[in-house]
């Protein structure tokens, strides 16, 4: 879907991006992770030609993007940025309608699509006539997302999309983001420096440093098979929390006890991670959840059983 072939970019004497290559599969969410100045944002911006690469090829859907008009190219790619970049002199409806207007959609179609997005993104209905400064930071970011999604582009680029939000708002928007159907059918490249966020949202993570790719792989790969010291140290200090996010109940299935199922337990899918399961257990009155896997098997679990299963899984994992 998106392919970079030995792409390089330097600013003056600084080599921002040095001969990097990767592929993003269709409907995959690839997160570019790294500290500031590692070249992740430059890499992202080269994909819609906000920055022109010095060397290399970038191919989207089999077409080299350097042969396309940059403005036409960008209208077909959704873009969400940390600073949101809503136009302060446009009201919310006009802000969302920028690209449809550039593409000369008829008004009715635009109107319907905006109404649909407002609904999906849980924005208040009366916000359409408001101006950006009248909305909260979280609402503004949803509008930014709506603006990027309005024409239903196949590719979405996101530059620290949740970076400007406070912690509470961030985790609630992240959760909505994960649940949003529209996003599941998009090919997404997202930039973040937040390891938790990367592990929460990524299908694969591309860890970068000094303009080079250190490791590219699934969150589990990064956690359990780091290719070098840099990759290992990058995750140190958050390992337990990351494991809770990476390991699913399905992974623990064999270690979970086959207790009696009783009614009134909160149901949860086995594809949920441990973190999620723990939060669900805490929110129930009886401290138990009912987990069902793809084979329609069900197990009832409480907090203690969950942590026991996790410890056994880890023990086995280390001694494989």
């Amino acid at each position: 879907m998106i392919e970079l072939k030995s792409v390089s970019k330097s600013f003056g004497n600084t080599q921002a991006v040095d001969q990097i290559s990767f592929k993003v599969n269709e409907k995959e969410n690839l997160v570019l992770l790294g500290t500031s100045g590692c070249g992740k944002t430059t890499t992202l911006k080269m994909i819609n030609r906000l920055i022109e690469p010095d060397a290399g090829e970038i191919i989207i859907n089999g077409k080299d993007i350097t042969n396309q008009n940059p403005e036409i190219l960008r209208r077909g790619i959704g873009y969400v940025m940390q600073n949101i970049g809503l136009f302060p002199h446009y009201n919310i409806a006009e802000n969302i309608a920028v690209v449809p207007k550039l593409l000369k959609w008829d008004k009715e179609k635009t109107h319907q699509r905006i109404a649909e997005l407002i609904e999906k993104l849980h924005l208040p209905n009366n916000c359409l006539k408001m101006f950006p400064h009248e909305l909260s930071g979280g609402q503004q970011q949803r509008v930014g997302l709506a603006r990027a999604l309005v024409t239903d582009p196949a590719v979405l680029l996101m530059d620290e999309p949740f970076g400007a939000l406070d912690n509470v708002t961030r985790s609630s928007i992240q959760a909505e983001f994960k649940a949003l159907e529209e996003l599941k059918r998009k090919t997404i490249v997202m930039v973040t420096h937040d390891v938790q966020e990367a592990f929460e949202l990524a299908d694969r993570i591309c860890l970068m440093d000094k303009g080079e790719i250190i490791q590219i792989g699934t969150p589990k790969d990064l956690l359990y098979n780091p290719t070098n010291d840099f990759a290992r140290k990058f995750l140190d200090g958050q390992r337990l929390a990351l494991e809770f996010k990476v390991i699913t109940l399905q992974d623990l299935w064999g270690f979970l006890p086959a207790d009696q199922i009783s009614n009134g337990e909160k149901p949860l899918d086995a594809s949920s991670n441990i973190w999620n399961a723990m939060e669900n257990i805490r929110s129930t009155s009886n401290g138990r959840i009912r987990v069902s896997n793809t084979n329609k098997e069900q197990k009832s679990v409480d907090f203690q059983q969950l942590t026991q299963a996790f410890n056994q899984y880890k023990y086995n994992h280390h001694h494989e």
């Binding site: 940025m81 600073n83 970049g85 136009f87 550039l102 101006f131």
Partner: protein, 452 residues
Amino acid sequence: MNEQQQTLWGFMSEQSDKLLNQTLQHLGLTFISLLFAIAIGLPLGILIARKRKLSTGILGLAGILQTVPSIALLGFMIPVLGIGAKPAIVALLIYALLPIIRNTYTGIIGIDRHIIESARALGMSKMQILLKVELPLAMPVILAGIRTATVINVGVATLASYIAAGGLGEFIFGGISLNNTNMILAGAIPAALLAVILDFLLSIIQKMDFKKLRKVLYVFPVLIIVLSGFYILPSAYSSRLTAGFTPEFMGRQDGDLGLKSEYGLKIHTIVISDAVMYKAAYSKELDVISGYSTDGRLKAFDLKILKDDKGIFPPYYAAPIVRETSLEKFPELEKVLNLLSGKITDSIMTDLNYRTDYLHQAPERVAKDFLVKNKLYKDSRNGQNGTVRIGSKIFGEQYILAEMYSMLIKGNTDYNVSTKTGLGGTKICFDALVNDQIDFYPEYTGTGLLVL
């Protein structure tokens, strides 16, 4: 005080036709130059916001133009653009340029760069970004620049009357020349009101939020063009022969009024400053002017003096007008001042003027040469016995006379001298004399009688 206000009101209602005409001309002049200044300044501001390397040069140049004194700027333009509307519009345009260029530039570069980046990322073209994002967002700052330029223009437009471009300056400078306070106020008050009202109206537009501003911005250019129209209409001159008279000459019995009543002169007349009048006649912009018979430029520019066979002009002799109290304070002063009497005839004065105006010799040197030649020159005694203050009007002849008196006083008495040259006109000299700011100044017998 009450009586004075009534007479001012009386003057204004009596002259209401002229007043209305001048006010409309003034408005028109302000806005037509503003229109051109926007047409030039806005694109330039956008250009230097794009190519920042150019910004220092262009802003610097506009800043330098801004500091050129207005009357000098008007003078420079006469050889190129003549007199009347064209040089006035160009001069005003030059003064309005800096605030418009600078505010357009700062307005655009001050926009949050993330907004511009998001506009690019959405696929807007450069032109779309400029028109839909940059200009609307920079608009409050640009409007502030236009507001400054408008107020500057209302002020500078009073000077347009110096080069026969009309406006409220005709009353103001006519009044200064004629010692007519009501006339000055009849020009100055409307001019000040125009500035205040326009400033206020533009401040309202500037503070509008984006919603309202969008509608107003469609009306604004139309309004400027309509207001500019005020000027284009009355400026369509048609007479074949054109006279340029100073504001003072226009209002004097021994001037335009006399020419009309005694000679029945019917000629297209425009009001112009004596500073640029001769040059305008020389460059054939004017056919008739109200020159001084002793002015050196008559000779320099080869102008002919018409004979006053009906005798409406009283004889003009240069003579000092002195304060009574000063003669008492400086007893030797009268004797010294009389040393010059009978020594300077019209032709001698013309020759002296020719040397300063055309040969560009310093007034000090011309004055000294004359005194030496007439054996009147004595070296300064560097007196400490009080200071005599001499005033002079702002043209060459008066500078020479003031220098002569100064040298005579220093050489013949123990008084020190300070000269206050460059007083704007008869009224200013006379007011300075009355208010004890100067002790005497050279005046002409005809004028002296009129003022007193």
